[in-house]
Amino acid sequence: MLLKKIDIWYLSSFFISIIVAVPIITVFLSFFETTGNYSSILKDTFLYEYIFNSIILLFGVLLLTFIIGVGCAYIVSFYKFPGVNFFKWALILSFAVPAYIYAYSLTAFFENFGTAFSILKNLFGEGDYNSSIPKFDGMLGAIISISFSLFGYVYVLTRASFHYQSQNLIELGKNLGFSKKKSFFKIILPSARPAIVAGLSLVAMETLSDFGSVSFFGISTLTTGIYNAWISFDDLTLANRLSFFLLIFIFGLFILENFSRRKAQYHSLSKGGFKSKSVITLTGYKSLLAFSFCFFVFFISFLFPVLQMLYWTIIFPKHFIDLKITELFLNTILLVLLSSIVLILFAFISNYGNRVSKSKFLEALTTFSISGYAIPGIILAVAFITFISWFDNNIVRYFGINTIKSIFIGSILGLVLVYFVRFYSLASNGIKSGYLKINYSIDESSYLLGYSKFKTFTDVHIPYLKNSIFLIGILIAIEIIKELPITLIMRPFNFETFATTAYVFASQDLLEAAAAPSLLLIIIASIFILTTSRYILKD
């Protein structure tokens, strides 16, 4: 029976999932290997601190992103006030600012003799302002940086859920005599719950795998623990084992997210059931309050880091002039193009394979493999290097061939392959959600009209999903432009992107030199976001 199911689509999907799953399998296998001395030292010293910090960071970020994301989504969905149409898309620009660049801006502004100090000095003259300027560093700084960089996930998903919420639901509340407050807590919020949980799960996964900002603020989390185990103690097995614990944690969130998404299907509305909402026009102080809240979030999440980077770029023009902008731009675009093409192509093939084979095993394997999204980029890179070294030593040498390491390590090919594993879930989930909208009887209709599986794929699915493909391509582009640890580890010698250039300067405490590449990174990412804002807000 199983053999009958196996065809070229089945095999393609199977192998793609296996490739993506290799790092996860590596991490799981490490559980059975012996670790170095660092393991026991760590257990007696910092392990609980790592876990404690990770939990504090996680809950801090979840709370803040929930308040900002749901608050903004509610205000722009249900009320009309000056600027509401602008805020609807402007609030997603926060996606363009990576948490680590936000962290640079936060530090640069509030540090001793930083930008805040300069502003106060220019306004009020010389004085001891440093003591009265609040300091957003350490855990608080990390929570703020990550939250304002990631709240967009909660905002976009919750807003979409509010947008498609039927007016009938709200009118039902009125019929039952509910106040606005009661309607919000009893009807609107519960019906958007799956979307909110889905958004928060994404935030949680990103937070747990964040490296750039926590390392900048010197916070010891499980991710930095993994990094230390590998870099400082050269204990790859322990690094993998720590990743295993992190993965277990993330798997829990993943199941939660999957569960809530499955429930979300019940929220799809039939053709006749949707009645567009009538929004409430705010006037007076209520209008001002709504505007202020949205403007505050927009300012803090996007304008603030942009202005801080712009300020430094202007006052330190030398760094901008010295920057090889064309080369960095071309390098970034090269990575974006190659990765997007590979990711979309393979995600498409794999999803189609799952669809036509209707195999529960393949479905489960794909779900397992795409959890690679939650593995910190560092671990993916290290797992890849480990695997290539093993393959080179044990397989390639066996056939008498010289080393193949140089083909995969420190090369564009290797970099794109690790990106492939890291962002496969983004591409795969995107295509999958597109496919969920295509009733299976559409495929059957095509077969019955004489179209083969391949022709159905090319003539029905690809044209139908072209918008999804475009959107996924842009989302991948935004992620790759911002991506840091994998690029740092896997890039060829002397190959720089805006992200790596900014990081290299920031790690040398040359924040003012990091400003120009950071600013350009934000601008390019913003352009990509604006291109797709219509789709992101709709879907």
């Binding site: 009733n439 059957e444 209709s445 019955l448 009209l449 179209y451 083969s452």
Partner: protein, 352 residues
């Protein structure tokens, strides 16, 4: 030599592991025949179509089309290789193509096949001119169903399968489409299996009708016979066009009912004198006669446009339907008495 156009032999139709229709055998003898399958919802009619189309596999029996096995335990020809077209009940138009593109998608197959049918003709014939540039979400479900039908017709299949093809079409429009559909299917000799729960539609369109009940094909015959000579109580109850009343066989051509008296006619099956039977009494079997001394009480009157269906109550509380032309002058209200012409003569007597 082709014996039958389509042969279904002892096939059990399953959805997953659950059997829906057991051990069904059915043949379509000639190319161009139109078969209608009737049965209540959820009985497995759609499963039969999906299996013939190749969308479901079979574990026993075999299905042959034009003398070639297309499904059996070991053979399964892919749906795209069968040249069988299935028009689904819920429209399955491609959402990203407009109506004309959807229809042309069907026409792209079998371009060379000589069946005198082109896109414009079909669009005109199914009254789709005004929606041909629209997308599926912009048209009504009835229009979508007709577009789906057009797409299937234009694919010029060897066998066309239609799953409740007109269920969403407006009543005012339905008969017109039925007439056109029958004309096109007959003229082009497109062999068709139609699944429907509308017996009038089945009787009009079908060369033969199959009644599926309790997971079995209960009767497979031409529409006249299915209506007038149902072969089981289940079929009578399903068609719901008459009632069964108790009677005693009194002679070669007669029987007796306590309320109606003597009933004469030709038995379609022999019963010994003195047998107690259930007689099928259909609305058109009794005639109205105000002068008759057999009077029954009117308990309900349904106006059906061309006719009235009176429901009459007998002394033993049997409820009997009687058909009366709607131009009939003497109408009766509920609770009034209604005369039945005697002697009662029924052309063919069906008993169980």
């Amino acid at each position: 030599m082709i014996k039958n156009f389509l042969e279904i032999e002892n096939v059990t139709f399953n959805v997953g592991n659950k059997s829906k229709v057991n051990n069904l055998s059915l043949t379509i003898e000639n190319e161009g025949d139109i078969i209608c399958l009737l049965g209540p919802s959820g009985i497995g009619k759609t499963t039969i179509l999906r299996t013939i189309a190749g969308l479901e596999k079979i574990q026993s029996g075999k299905i042959s089309l034009k003398n070639k096995i297309i499904s059996s335990k070991n053979i399964h020809l892919d749906p795209e290789k069968r040249n069988i077209s299935l028009s689904f009940q819920d429209n399955c138009l491609f959402p990203h193509y407009n109506v004309i593109q959807n229809i042309e998608f069907g026409a792209a197959r079998n371009k060379k096949k000589k069946k005198d049918l082109n896109v414009d003709d079909v669009i005109r014939f199914l009254n789709l001119e005004h929606v041909k540039e629209k997308f599926p979400h912009e048209i009504s479900s009835g229009e979508a169903q007709r577009a789906s039908l057009a797409r299937s017709l234009l694919s010029k299949p060897d066998l066309l399968l239609l799953d409740e093809p007109l269920s969403n079409v407006d009543q005012s429009f339905k008969e017109e489409i039925q007439v056109k559909l029958k004309k096109i299917l007959t003229e082009l000799k497109i062999t068709t299996i139609i699944v429907t729960h509308d017996s009038y539609e089945a009787f009009y369109l079908g060369t033969k009708c199959g009644i599926i009940l309790d997971g079995q094909l209960k009767q497979y015959d031409d529409p006249y016979n299915v209506y007038h000579f149902p072969n089981s109580v289940e079929v009578v109850n399903f068609l719901n066009r008459g009632i069964l009343i108790p009677a005693k066989v009194t002679g070669e051509n007669s029987l007796e009912n306590d309320d109606l008296g003597t009933i004469k006619g030709n038995f379609i099956k022999h019963y010994p004198k003195g047998s107690d039977v259930q007689l099928l009494l259909q609305p058109e079997d009794l005639e109205h006669d105000d002068k008759s001394n057999l009077k029954l009480e009117v308990v309900d009157r349904k106006f059906r446009g061309t006719n009235f269906i009176y429901t009459l109550k007998t002394l033993s509380n049997l409820l009997i339907p009687v058909f009366v032309h709607s131009h009939h002058i003497h109408q009766h209200e509920v609770d009034e008495k209604f005369g039945i012409k005697r002697p009662i003569i029924i052309d063919h007597i069906v008993c169980f």
